[in-house]
């Protein structure tokens, strides 16, 4: 299967939140109680039933104030920390290169929540499971574009084959010039959600500048995990060799039945 990429061109985003709503609609997720924070940000953050949202950000520039809109959600990493730590295989790589989630296997351990470099998975106490965007796997399989891309009225969200989309992203950056850059293809093995950012990555809220699989996760999964079986196996083998080479430590025979024989 060919790998796919969803390209989010923030320079074309008007913050209309159609994608947010389309996501809820397709995935049949109700709204949650929200609260007014004095900004346009609503809901305030990703939730177990809000898998994507527009982050509204006011930044000061020379003419006063301008808005930055960034659609946040799962980046679908190639080298995905969540898949690495998931103990049950609930999180997995699909043949499209995206990260799927099989809720029947999720045990609510929340390991993915702390492992994700983008802080995406959200835990739901009621179902004791974790939720995140699956890039509308059911739609991709039916040869449809993800709901958010379908709903986007400005063409800020587009979807297609990976290499073509990367090419498109770089072409758009060239067109925009200035600080514009492609975000996503250079780290964690390449993400399957790419941004065309109009500003430098550090300007955007909640967007890590150089995301990576946490060093702790690598230490744990790639070194200590195999080491646990290797060392236990080594000990078992060593014990066997010790028994046949050195022999067990036996009490001296002659004093076995004597009492107090000094």
């Amino acid at each position: 299967m060919t790998e796919v990429v969803k390209l989010i061109d923030v320079s074309k985003c008007t913050g209309c939140r159609s994608c947010q709503l389309a996501c809820k609609q397709w995935n049949q997720q109700p709204a949650k109680q929200t609260k007014h924070l004095g900004t346009y940000q609503n809901p305030p953050d990703l939730q177990s039933n809000t898998w994507t949202l527009i982050r509204f950000q006011e930044v000061a520039d020379k003419d006063g104030v301008k808005w930055l809109f960034r659609k946040d959600g799962c980046m679908h990493c190639t080298d995905a920390a969540c898949v690495k730590v998931c103990p049950s295989g609930a999180l997995y790589h699909t043949s499209y290169g995206t990260v799927g989630i099989n809720h029947s296997r999720c045990i609510g351990c929340k390991e993915c929540v702390s492992a994700c470099p983008f802080d995406i998975p959200r835990y739901d106490r009621d179902t004791d499971k974790v939720y995140k965007c699956d890039l509308c796997l059911s739609r991709i399989e039916a040869d449809l574009t993800p709901a958010c891309a379908k709903a986007c009225p400005t063409g800020a969200i587009t979807f297609g084959e990976k290499t073509a989309m990367i090419k498109k992203a770089y072409a758009r950056v060239k067109e925009l010039g200035g600080d514009a850059n492609v975000y996503g293809d250079k780290f964690v093995g390449g993400t399957h959600v790419l941004y065309v950012l109009a500003e430098k990555p550090e300007v955007y809220d909640e967007l890590p500048k150089k995301p990576s699989v946490p060093i702790a996760t690598i230490l744990w999964k790639d070194i200590l995990k195999p080491l646990s079986l290797i060392s236990a196996g080594g000990v078992l083998g060593g014990a066997f060799l010790h028994y046949i080479i050195h022999g067990p430590k036996l009490p001296d025979e002659e004093t076995n039945t004597k009492e107090g024989g000094e």
Partner: protein, 224 residues
């Protein structure tokens, strides 16, 4: 019980040891079920991986209680090195690894046993603390939780490997030892070989309890 056997452990020690051993074993097995997807089938025995998670977490509490009593009961005897005698023992590895003409006499616990106690006590505490944080990861910063998994895995590497050493040396590697855990009564010959200094101390202090003989300190025999 046979006449002439010597009491090495009391029933409280044996119960605590079994509690620690069983909980530790359950934790290792269920932990493996979550650490390796190829061991996920262990969860099937418990009605699914989610149930396995609960078995693991709540057995952890049982382990914590067992470890508390273990440390309180044994730290004086097994948690402190007895220098310089223990240093002599370390230099020849207790005679376990190569031929040694005269192995330094061990007291109630030899240095190997002390090392095992310290590993279980030290890493056991680490397992409990990291485990508790991993149990409610959303209440702590993500970077901290990430490192908890590293230390939890490190503790597993140490405890799992040491467990097999302990199992070997407690059974086939040192015949007669397992009785100290099962019934508490061991042979004099075994004590003389394994813990000669302790045997001598008990004889000198009059605390030696021999099956079929009058209890020490019961008013007769040895004075104090």
């Amino acid at each position: 019980m046979r006449k002439g056997l010597i009491k090495a452990t009391d029933s409280f020690e044996r119960i605590v040891h079994w509690c620690l051993a069983i909980s530790c074993l359950i934790l290792c097995i269920t932990g493996l079920g979550m650490m390796f997807q190829s061991f996920n089938f262990i969860g099937t025995l418990m009605g699914g991986l989610k149930s396995l998670k609960y078995v693991h977490n709540f057995t952890g509490i049982f382990f914590a209680v067992s470890l508390f009593f273990t440390i309180r009961m044994w730290w004086r005897e097994a948690g402190v090195l007895d220098l310089p005698d223990d240093w002599e023992w370390i230099k020849v590895a207790g005679g376990y690894l190569w031929h040694v003409d005269k192995v330094p006499e061990a007291g109630k616990y030899n240095v190997g046993q002390k090392a095992f106690f310290l590993v279980v006590a030290g890493f056991g505490i680490i397992m409990i603390l990291t485990g508790l944080i991993m149990w409610s990861p959303l209440s702590f910063p993500a970077w901290l939780v990430r490192w908890m998994f590293v230390f939890h895995a490190l503790g597993f590497v140490a405890i799992f490997a040491f467990f097999f050493i302990h199992l070997y040396l407690g059974t086939v590697g040192s015949p007669g030892s397992v009785d100290a855990m099962l019934t508490g009564w061991v042979t004099r010959a075994w004590l003389k070989k394994q813990h000669p200094k302790w045997l001598r101390e008990m004889e000198e202090n009059g605390t030696l309890e021999v099956f079929g003989e009058e209890k020490p300190g019961a008013g007769h025999g040895h004075g104090h």
